[in-house]
Subunit: 258 residues, 2 copies
């Protein structure tokens, strides 16, 4: 059996810091400038959620937020900005845990994560809450269409996939890992359940979250403090598909932990 070829992960430098008021076009222009061109068919471009949200205007100025009494109380008890708490509650479809200063929430999309994915940012003295993209799959699809256009060998279109990713915590283990929120162009799950393993024994329940593993791999070159909010994963033989990050969300009724 031929072993898989090496996979490489290329940082996308030069992506300018996205400011409120920038549009998605500016993001795309910046990303295009930093891509390791020409792109190859099969490249996976992983883009950090935060720059996508900023470019799409998924943000709220904290100065415009009036916290509810509940948000105010929680903020005072746990030394959090009550306006941020208010935004977190608004972005939540359901609170999974709200204990010891930690809010684990299910977002409108169905993601379960700390603070409903709401980050704080400070731009030109304005305090902003950065929300998750409204529809991460749509964001990924738009980026896929644009980034692939004319960026292949000899100026032809490149058949690429795009993942919009964010770093999430998880129960039982310390630290964040990057996961896929939006997916376009690849099958996010690799189903090995029906493949015999090397002993000839049928594997069961072996469903690999490859989109999350790709997102984590990309994070290795995307330091949080450097201006590298995107990466290209090259050489991974994914299965082409429409793809959706929703396939990675465990249905509530199948989840023993909410």
């Amino acid at each position: 059996m031929t072993p898989p070829a090496p996979v490489s992960i290329h940082p996308v430098p030069g992506l300018p810091e996205v400011r409120p008021g920038d549009d998605r076009g500016a993001l795309l222009a910046g990303a295009l400038a930093g891509l390791p061109l020409p792109l190859r068919d099969g490249d996976v471009v992983v883009v950090a959620q935060k720059v996508v949200s900023k470019a799409e205007g998924s943000r709220v100025a904290l100065s415009a937020v009036e916290p509810s009494p509940a948000a105010r109380q929680w903020g005072e008890a746990w030394d959090k900005d009550p306006r941020q708490v208010e935004v977190v509650l608004r972005e939540s479809r359901r609170i999974v845990r709200m204990e010891r200063g930690v809010i684990i929430a299910e977002t409108r999309h169905g993601f379960v994560c700390a603070n409903a994915g709401v980050d704080l940012s400070n731009s030109g003295g304005e305090e902003l809450a950065i929300l998750l993209p409204e529809d991460p799959d749509r964001s990924a699809a738009a980026l896929r269409a644009r980034l692939g256009r004319g960026s292949g060998e000899g100026g032809r279109d490149a058949e690429i996939a795009v993942i919009v990713a964010d770093t999430f915590g998880r129960p039982w283990r310390v630290g964040l890992t990057q996961v896929a929120l939006g997916v376009a162009g690849l099958e996010p799950l690799l189903d090995l359940r029906d493949s015999p393993d090397v002993d000839g024994r049928t594997l069961h329940a072996t469903l690999i979250a490859v989109a999350d593993e790709l997102a984590s791999a990309a994070d290795l070159v995307c330091g949080k403090t450097s201006r590298v909010p995107a990466a290209v994963v090259r050489g991974y033989p994914y299965r082409p598909a429409g793809g959706s990050g929703r396939a990675l969300i465990r249905a509530a009724e199948m989840d023993l932990f909410r």
Copy 2:
């Protein structure tokens, strides 16, 4: 700021299928044969738990297991081999959930995972339960010492790190991702909590589980069905340290989900 350099992930082919009776020496000889030699200082060798366990003899012949009444009952109710269920219960320090045919257990080491990490394997007609390594950090340290010896440029020793990894599920999301059980030679967590972000705002609670991200990246070249149970991640600027997979286990009292 100079962007990080590319990271590459190299499959380690030629690692022979480890059989019961093989010793760790055979595993090492096989791994050495498949490594992309010479190794470079800073390489991270990620080895699948299953081959480490087989080589170390962390296994139980199912034919020798007498299931308890509880294991028998659970096995009958959910169509599981009661002998496997018995081994899972013996390997568990605590059962976190036991519902709908799924056993989520805390292992003796403190890992929380399905079936206490117990896999089934069939070798030469003998049905085996493969357990997690007794001490994954010790396994990683032993592999690190041996694999680095003489495998650098010009036959000198290479300063490498080793991760012993397994694919675990997680709440809220579908599919498995590979995580680090044992770590030797690198700091498994990257603490960005005190670094200012690009806006100059201090990040808080940004602790990245880089050892898990390295393990997930390695899984991209380690198909479950191919004989590629190890990979070398090259070019990731980890922080050298003794390292331990225990640092990635969330303390029970800090965990809202057990």
